[in-house]
Amino acid sequence: MTHTTPISTHNVPANDVMPEKTSTPSQSSKILPLRVESLSFTAKGEHLLQDVSFELSAGPRTVIMGPNGAGKSLLLRLCHGLLEPTSGSVRWMGGKAREATMSQAMVFQRPVLLRRTVAQNVDYGLKLHDVPRADRPQIIQDVLNRTGLARFAEKPARLLSGGEQQKLALARAWALKPDVLFLDEPTASLDPAAAHAIEAIVQTMHDEGTRIIMTTHDIAQAKRLADEVIFVHKGRVLEKTPAEHFFDTPECGEAAAFLRGELRW
């Protein structure tokens, strides 16, 4: 844990807004930019994340990559506010704390669904966000239609297949119309067809203006989804570059080794 390779910000403009690759999402956000400064996280004496700094503005899809145990999911949780950093800060520059909290959503690798129907799972998130009761049925119907889950609306959520459960987790997040959506390896345990469906929903959310920040160690998926890549290795951010550049000419040796499938973790 003594790696000191500096973060590379190749071709990153001064305001860190990355060039768009495949789409033109809304540039407006109530809470962005997200400024991460000197972020460190230590648990049981082990430095799991060290001195991480970057800024994310509205627009591109950011994919956090790295080998297992690099600190990708931890970084995502710190950004989302699920964990308190040991030192450093995570600041949403565009809004107050409550607004920032309510303008984000996260989808986890393993979806946590309530023991209720599919529709009630979506409704639960809306209720927590104080969406008026009268407005909720329409939102639920819309989001279930768009994710292909409408026919399961009254089915117990935990009886869905793995892919459908992850779709429901996405639908629940989508219904909240988040400014920023964190996804922690959302397709890690899904078959290719289900993964494709999830990617399509993520793409649509991005097209509609939700800022996507996700982790993956699936290089092919990252190539499909990423506008920019943050490469994490051994608790440090080694690169933050446009996706094309990262995949064509990675700056650091670790990233090159990772892309060749040779990085030891």
């Binding site: 949780r77 989302h80 506010g81 699920l82 909290t101 309510m102 984000q104 959503a105 996260m106 986890f108 946590v112 309530l114 023991r115 209720r116 639960y124 998130g125 927590l128 966000h129 117990p156 935990r158 009886l159 629940r172 909240l176």
Partner: protein, 234 residues
């Protein structure tokens, strides 16, 4: 051996003949124990959930005390309630001693720690699974409490049944605060104790068989509903 076969025959006879005294005793037993369970559920579920979710100084000590109180001796509870409700006690003016209400109070005190302790464990385990998702959705621990209790409902049925079992089987507390007064505070367990002291072992055992039968029936019905619901909602 004769006593046992006689007991079964007595139990059968009591049931078939729909003995009026037996029905009255069974009715009061159920009324007292179920009322105590309702009170214990109203107090124990939120108390257990709060202990699981909220961090405060002394939480560990409170948890240990609640867990220890699961083994509370009924006679001690009965004695404490007796002292409180007796004419010279702080609540003596209410005149509740030797009434079914006193018995409900004693049993509620006895089983609230059981329900609270089991609820604490169930909710704590569920919180491990739900915490990140709930917080991500913007829920604090207070708002998470009813959600967790609802989602743990099938497991919590077992906690409630444990409380009911304890209430319906105990004799010490209801004997002290109820007094086993015929047609007023006589329940199954106190009736059994009385028949034993009178030497009518067959009748006592017969009543015992009826009590066990009741308990098994209630548990079987609940288990069956729980299994069916759990299969749907996992």
């Amino acid at each position: 051996m004769n006593d046992i076969s006689e007991a079964f025959s007595t139990a059968l006879h009591l049931l078939i003949s729909l003995d009026a005294d037996l029905i009255e005793i069974v009715g009061l037993s159920l009324q007292v124990s179920l009322s105590a369970v309702v009170i214990a559920v109203v107090i124990g579920l939120p108390l257990g959930a709060a202990l699981a979710l909220f961090k405060f100084p002394g939480r560990g000590a409170v948890t240990i005390v609640i867990n220890a109180l699961m083994g509370l001796p009924p006679v001690v509870v009965g004695l404490v309630v007796y002292l409180i409700l007796s004419r010279s006690g702080p609540l003596g003016v209410l005149g509740l001693l030797f009434t079914p209400t006193a018995m409900i109070i004693a049993q509620a005190l006895l089983i609230t720690p059981i329900i609270a302790a089991l609820t604490r464990q169930v909710v704590a385990d569920l919180w491990v699974e739900y915490a990140e998702q709930m917080r991500s959705l913007g829920s604090g621990r207070l708002r998470a409490m009813p959600t967790l209790l609802y989602d743990a409902r099938f497991t919590l049925v077992t906690a409630v049944l444990a409380g009911f079992g304890r209430a319906s089987a105990e004799v010490g507390a209801v004997m002290i605060v109820g007094g086993n007064i015929d047609h007023v505070t006589r329940v199954m367990t106190t009736a059994i104790a009385l028949e034993v002291s009178k030497g009518d072992l067959a009748l006592a055992l017969g009543l015992g068989i009826v009590l066990i039968g009741l308990s098994v029936s209630i548990n079987a019905a609940t288990y069956s509903v729980k299994q069916r619901a759990e299969a749907v909602w996992t």
